[in-house]
Symmetry: C2
Subunit: 654 residues, 2 copies
């Protein structure tokens, strides 16, 4: 048990730093004025939405907890509720920092770009440290009392379910506002992004926080937690080979990653001489180096089996390769995005077709890398599934750092927006916009991470589920397993359809409302009258909360019904079909959407705003929005949620 103290201590350290940073932000003085006012609009919108989202999700929880209690006993019901609750409140904590950091970033940009960068990074790190810290602390304590890894599955299930709701709700919110603001503002009225005359602009800024920031926080919280839980389930099988201490390997490996991430983030403080993007890369290097070293020591002293270390290193490598591939396909410097921008000269249709073609092949290289990494680790360890767990947690080692960089995105995005809306000095707006661009690159890295993490988890998940239920294989020589493979593969299509459809429906209302305001509010376009921001915020809030329920519940009820009605073999086939389907469809959506976004940015960068090709690119970006920020991220969470659901009911259906 002293080993548990290590994970408990590293988790607590992360929480302490997070809380300290948040208090600093809360104490910092915000000068009154238009920027503070806009900041408070955003803060109120965010708090209103998140508290209503919290209420909605928490009102669904007791019913589910009751069902779980009935079937699986009080411990699982308790850990389930803890999972939901921790996921949501942790994200709230990070969110609180983000909505303070945005205004402060603008303010600090008046001193120097470095100050602004610094504030945004440490504002983002509150999310990075709290999601990882709370996960480690609570899982350590839970294991201390419960002593059985199976009972932790409830926690993972709760965390994943909360994440899916948060991502879908936040995603619909942010994208309906974004699409509404862009289609009417940028395309029809030809006013700039983030223009204060646009009625949807506050909803758009709120959306950046509740979708990109809070949603991603819940997502990474569940990844981090689920990987510990499935890891401990596998580790418990390997006690005869390595001794009882191996059970703590997943927790300790995550602790190594968390401590490395803390060092990486703190090292940015000392990198004043560098440009923001370089500083981020150096910090990433520090994190990576420490994680490699730390996991070597851990593997050697805990298990004397360096193949587990190899697994961890391969996990890190996979994340880096996936990030590189994502940058190639979706980043502003790759051939694909340049081809898309070039195609825009022939209108939006060829832009879209070109982007779809690249997007469809974009997941392949990462999949091949993952397959090679997992197979290598498995072979090198002489067929140990624990080595696959090491690869899986290896992808998590940078999570504290990656989440920091990711949360940096919405903060700078907001900061740039606030500066633009409040009519800030051009030099300030420019330096914030360049930080915003850095943030966008970082977001793509997070998605690449989430994709590889989800895919590698699948390997562990399939093996764990099939071992638990006592099946070894999917028998396709009769039609029944094939039938459930087909149904499984169709599930991610259904989920995507529902969330994209909801976004479209909400965006349609948003477009109509923005058009109505431009038509009926006199002097709005001339800047003489103020738009009604609240009505747009209201449309996004109401729709997001209503529309997240169906896809969220469908994701868990379908596997549960299949499991209970037909048994473990059917659930197994459904699980395999659904997970492998989501592993392709998710990154396809993410990369395609991001490539449209960056093609638009390339065209804007060369000063072609308002031209034929720019209009085409803005349109394509709008099509990509619900793909990359609603459907794609939701699928990556869905992959893990269906796994946790299957593991939760595995004992009951076998």
């Amino acid at each position: 048990m002293p080993l548990l103290l290590i994970s408990l201590a590293s988790g607590s350290l992360a929480i302490l730093i997070a809380v300290g940073l948040l208090r600093n932000l809360q104490k910092a003085k915000i000068h009154p004025g238009p920027m503070a006012e806009i900041g408070s609009y955003i803060a109120i919108g965010v708090k209103t939405y998140l508290s209503r989202q919290l209420k909605t999700i928490l009102s669904l929880t007791p019913l589910l907890a009751l069902v779980i209690y009935f079937f699986f006993g009080h411990w699982v019901a308790l850990t389930f509720m803890l999972g939901v609750f921790t996921s949501l409140t942790t994200a709230l904590l990070g969110m609180n920092a983000a909505i303070r950091a945005n205004v402060k970033t603008v303010q600090d940009a008046h001193f120097s770009p470095w100050h602004a960068f610094h504030t945004a990074v440490f504002g983002g790190s509150v999310m990075g440290f709290s999601i990882t810290g709370f996960s480690l602390v609570i899982l350590s304590i839970l294991y201390f009392f419960l002593k059985k890894p199976d009972l932790l599955v409830g926690f993972g299930f709760g965390a994943s379910l909360a994440a899916l709701f948060a991502q879908i709700g936040g995603g619909i919110y942010t994208k309906s506002a974004d699409v509404g603001a862009d289609l009417v503002g940028k395309v029809e009225e030809n006013i700039p992004e983030d223009d204060h005359r646009n009625p949807a602009v506050i909803a758009d800024q709120v959306g950046d926080n509740v979708g990109d920031c809070a949603g991603r926080g819940s997502d990474l919280f569940e990844s981090f937690s689920d990987d510990i839980i499935t890891g401990m389930l596998v580790a418990s099988i390997y006690i005869p080979r390595y001794g009882p201490q191996v059970l703590f390997f997943p927790l300790l490996l995550q602790s190594v990653g968390l401590l490395s991430s803390i060092m990486g983030v703190l090292s940015i403080k000392r990198l004043k001489r560098f440009r923001p993007e370089t500083a981020f890369n150096v910090g990433m290097l520090v994190t990576t180096a420490l994680a490699i070293l730390g996991s070597f020591l851990l593997a050697y002293y805990l298990t004397r089996d360096l193949s587990l270390w190899l697994g961890g290193v391969l996990g890190i490598l996979v994340t880096l390769v996936a990030a590189y591939v994502t940058h190639y396909y979706a980043g502003a410097n790759g051939k694909p995005v340049h081809d898309i921008a070039e195609a825009s000269k022939r209108g939006v249709a060829l832009n879209l077709i070109t982007g779809l073609a690249y997007g469809l092949q974009s997941p392949l290289a990462s999949i091949v890398t993952i397959v090679i990494a997992v197979s290598t680790a498995f072979l090198a360890s002489g067929g140990s599934l624990l080595a696959v767990v090491a690869v899986n947690i290896g992808t998590d080692l940078l999570i504290g750092y990656i989440m920091t960089a990711d949360a940096f995105g919405p903060i700078t995005d907001n900061a740039a927006g606030i500066a633009e809306m409040a009519g800030g000095e051009p030099s300030v707006v420019r330096s914030l916009s360049s930080l915003d661009a850095v943030g966008n690159t970082m977001k793509a890295t997070t998605k690449a991470y989430a994709m590889s993490s989800g895919t590698i988890t699948a390997f562990v998940l399939f093996a764990t589920f099939f071992t638990t239920v006592g099946l070894k294989a999917i028998d396709v020589s009769t039609p029944f397993n094939t039938a459930f493979l087909f149904l499984g593969i169709a599930l991610p299509y259904l989920i995507s359809s529902l969330v994209i459809g909801s976004t479209a429906k909400t965006a349609l209302q948003m477009v109509d409302e923005v058009r109505r305001q431009f038509r009926t509010i006199k002097g709005l376009l001339e800047g003489k009258a103020n738009p009604d921001y609240a009505s747009c915020v209201d449309i996004a809030t109401k729709n997001a909360l209503r529309e997240m329920i169906l896809p969220g519940l469908a994701s868990i009820t379908i596997p549960i019904v299949v499991g209970y009605l037909f048994g473990a073999w059917a659930l197994g086939s459904l699980l395999v079909g659904a997970v492998i389907s989501a592993a392709l469809l998710g990154p396809f959506f993410n990369n395609t959407g991001t490539s449209f976004d960056n093609a638009k940015k390339i065209i804007e960068a060369k000063g072609s705003k308002g031209t034929f090709e720019h209009q085409a690119a803005v349109c394509a970006d709008t099509v990509g929005d619900p793909l990359k920020d609603v459907a794609g991220p939701s699928l990556l969470i869905f992959m893990k949620l269906i796994g946790m659901t299957a593991l939760l009911i595995a004992h009951a259906v076998r």
Copy 2:
């Protein structure tokens, strides 16, 4: 063997009718004039392209045949070459009828709409009867000499490979021309569809023939043939249960379908009083009724097992349900297409997002129907795989009729185009346009058929492959099978990416060429000068022939390399992953693309040509074009090709 005479005779009858109808068309007098001239442009374009395509494919064949000879002996190599050759020449035969029937349809429209309808139907039936007739005749003769169903796999492999090449090449041809013509003509220059001033208009008309007509012919030829071959492989296992005559069940069931289709098509002759759409439906009803009756007699007298009859009926039902679902999601009367049209009022982005959302869920209902039908047949027969074969061939029973209706589409499309270009009388143009709309509905039915046929074949295929190689299941408890499932599921994404990318690349050149002609040819837009049709035809031809090679070869080499390098278990996982992935991605592409097309037609029908919403809808239609006419159909062929490839090498890799 006398049973073989029945299939031989029904096949020969179909060929005789096809040849008779073709000769009638060739003898018919075409009045000289602008229509005949345009018709001859199209005919020359089609013949040039198809003969060059034939040469390209045939030049690849000997090399492949040599490899096959080396590994599998001379019989398989011979049947392979026969498969390629028959597929291509059969499609040529049907094509020859189509390019004569189009001008004749315009000419007959001057008498009465009924005459035009009649000509187009019987012109299309040449394709319908020749693909089914030749398949039955050649497979009967081959079996008579070879006596072993395994040796026929080479024929199926050849037919599928030729179909994939023809579909990809034809698809790239037709869609690059269509996109090029639409984007510059309709969107930029605001001239009507099929306007003779548009330089890409002839290429577009040629494309309708080589892509939609010849491509679909090869596709259905391989479906029809492959289902006989896999059916006979399964039937050979059931000889102990039903006696040796059961081996001919697949051939005879297809004969029943063919004879019913002939009766169905001929019955249209007697339906002068009905509107075209009603006449088609009545003919379909006749075909269906006869097929149900015939399969009852066959199942009863050949096997005394009515569960096989039930299977056949379920197969027909599946096709009808899938057609209904397709009409709902992609047809002009369903809610989805109306929602898409409504969303167009807010621009192309919301049109596309709405369409994608509906498209993603569109395959689900058909998949569920298929799963229920296959499971029911399997259970009702007490676990007989032959009942699943019956469901599979059940979907083919209407193939002769469906292909007739499908080939009717490009004929009327061409006819409407010729009348428009030659400045025909408004009443003639109108009656041909309404026939064109009927043709579009029929095309959607064919795609629904192809989708259900491909999916049901998967059930037979998996079982046959895994039985042949002596594996029972996919073991996902180690990472290796999971790895190949992932690679398999990525394959259809890769193929789609390649073919959509090629279409985009070609369309880009087409847009530039059409723009160049409008810019440099003086008086073109005013109708005082003629465009250079040939240069557009040349761009489409060259690109299509070059770009079809890579995706075509990738589709067969990847499974072969995996099979030989890693063995049957790896190939099995790859096969399952690839087939189930294509079964969703294919219909998603087909339905999404078709729904955009019909949304545009709805807007045009209410007279909103040239408005903001119409421009949006035309753009979305263009995005959907490569999805519905290149990627989607190619994937449905790919599903069967990879199956035939796996069966071909099954004995060698196990």
